[in-house]
């Protein structure tokens, strides 16, 4: 059996995990900040921010990818500036795949965290304030631990989305082996090649395995949290 992808399978999986990992590292804090803003603050333009966050959820991923290309491409508004001033290039690099993953996963990360933060009784935050806690301390000692369930859910959803992102990634950073060819792109590529079904199936099984492991890990983590907070609601 000739399998053009066999040697590259490891590379594809590692690249996908790398992209998903960095998407979480940069995406989660930003999503947490936005979730807190949307859950706790009233400000002009809140509706706009809310809509903007959710846009990638309803827009065709290919359109989102094209918008990213327009913005972050070498001649794009942001891309040109970054290239000129800092020498940072996203287009057709794996870092661009990270950006595509963050944008596409963002609404999925914001939603559960926003709900979890909104469910934390603001009276508890008031109580913490009266005991001398600053705004940051209140967030770190009360709001954050009490919304940890939502944060874990957000991380799992975000990770899964980043791992599975296809349309926006393909459009924005193309399908370059070893650089931007993540799992779904590799599966797609394999299916384009005659006799590639076997490789596609193997990659599919790999992605199933990764997803299952991620789900199990999050389940274990949230169970452990519940046990730790014995009886906490």
């Amino acid at each position: 059996m000739t399998d053009p992808l066999t040697g590259l399978e490891g590379e594809v999986i590692l690249l996908s995990l790398k992209v998903a990992f960095w998407a979480l590292v940069f995406g989660m804090p930003a999503a947490l900040a936005v979730a807190w803003l949307l859950a706790r603050k009233e400000f002009p333009g809140k509706i706009v921010l809310d809509a903007l966050v959710h846009l990638p959820l309803v827009m065709p991923p290919v359109a989102t990818g094209y918008l990213l290309l327009l913005l972050f491409g070498r001649r794009g508004f942001i891309g040109a500036t970054l290239d000129q001033w800092f020498g940072i290039v996203f287009a057709f690099r794996w870092t661009g795949a990270v950006i595509a993953a963050i944008v596409m996963a963002f609404p999925l990360m914001v939603r559960p965290m926003r709900q979890a933060i909104a469910a934390v009784d603001p009276h508890l935050e008031d109580a913490a304030k009266t005991m001398g806690a600053s705004r940051v301390s209140v967030f770190l000692t009360v709001t954050l631990p009490l919304s940890l369930g939502g944060i874990i859910a957000a991380a799992v959803l975000g990770f899964a989305k980043a791992l599975g992102e296809f349309g926006a990634t393909m459009t924005f950073v193309s399908n370059i082996p070893g650089e931007t060819r993540t799992l779904p792109l590799a599966i797609h590529t394999a299916l384009q090649i005659p006799g590639g079904e076997y490789a596609a199936l193997r990659l599919t099984l790999v992605s199933v395995a990764v997803s299952v492991v991620a789900l199990l890990a999050s389940e274990l983590l949230s169970r452990r949290l519940k046990r730790k907070g014995a009886g906490a609601p």
Binding site: M131, T141, A230, A232
Partner: protein, 362 residues
Amino acid sequence: MIDVDIRLTLGAFSLDAAFASSAPVTALFGRSGAGKSTIVKAVGGLLTPEDGRILLGDTVVFDSAAGIDVPARLRRIGHVFQDARLFPHMTVEKNLAYGGRFSKQKPTSKTWEEVVKLLDIGLLLGRHPAGLSGGEIQRVAIGRALLMSPLALIMDEPLASLDGRRKAEILPYLDRLTASSRVPILYVSHALDEVMRLASTLVLVEAGAVLASGPVEEVMARADLADATGGEDAGAVFAATISRHDDDYHLTHIEISGQMVTVPRVAAPPGHAMRLLIRAGDVVLAARRPEALSTRNILSGHIEAIEIGQGAYVDIAVDIGGGHLRARITRQAMDELGFKIGAPVFALIKSVAIGRRVPWSD
């Protein structure tokens, strides 16, 4: 010393309240919705008045004219909320230690032990709030407020969400706390029995305004405030001293305003100061000294004020020689007996109607 003079509007509700108190325990008393909680929220910094001034000790914590608004976290006021607000994700011990984490005045291990002992919460330290009873939760909440080394303590209806049994379980702790506290306490309640048991100064709040403030006995005795202090519970509160016990009949004689009343045996030594609540509805007025009655407590005095309300009843304030009694009788009885201001009367009180033991003293 707490000095409050504030105004604010919240939707349809407007508040314009002013009072000052240097008492160890000041009660904000009034119906629910009167504005008591709004006032203490402003004092605690959880709500900003539109206009006015709040003084805590020598510190101005709010002054709209001078542009001062010390944030809640810097006011160092301990709060005990009706809903306790313990952190559900922390053990009792972590909850208790929370205030000390941000305070420069960390509680010493001696203070810690004192508070744990005062509230009897030593056995709860390792547990989470979800596993505690309502009474235990409230005791931990009180301890948490004390251990942040506060400059003042705000207790906002701390007993209102507890049933009668839990209330009775907590009250002795509050007795000890209010008797021994070194910081002023602002106690919000709509329950007269709590107020007269725990507080020394009463601030009467109604419809967003302070109607009266002063010693509990004085404010409660005022007939013109009957509507606000009123309801079923309306009555007069007296400072009293246990005179002697009668072991044969299981009675205790108590002196109020130079006269004697008899109540069922009270478990406190002679000379002990206490406070009595005599409800207006439990007082019968007679124009002449009655004889051959089972009622033991007959106090002589004269009518000081008559407050005619709508309906069948009138509230009559009786001066019994320094103290003021309140009686609620029908207007018809008043007219038939010819009660007028200045007329001598005899007030009959059933012994059982008295008898709230108050181990409180100034």
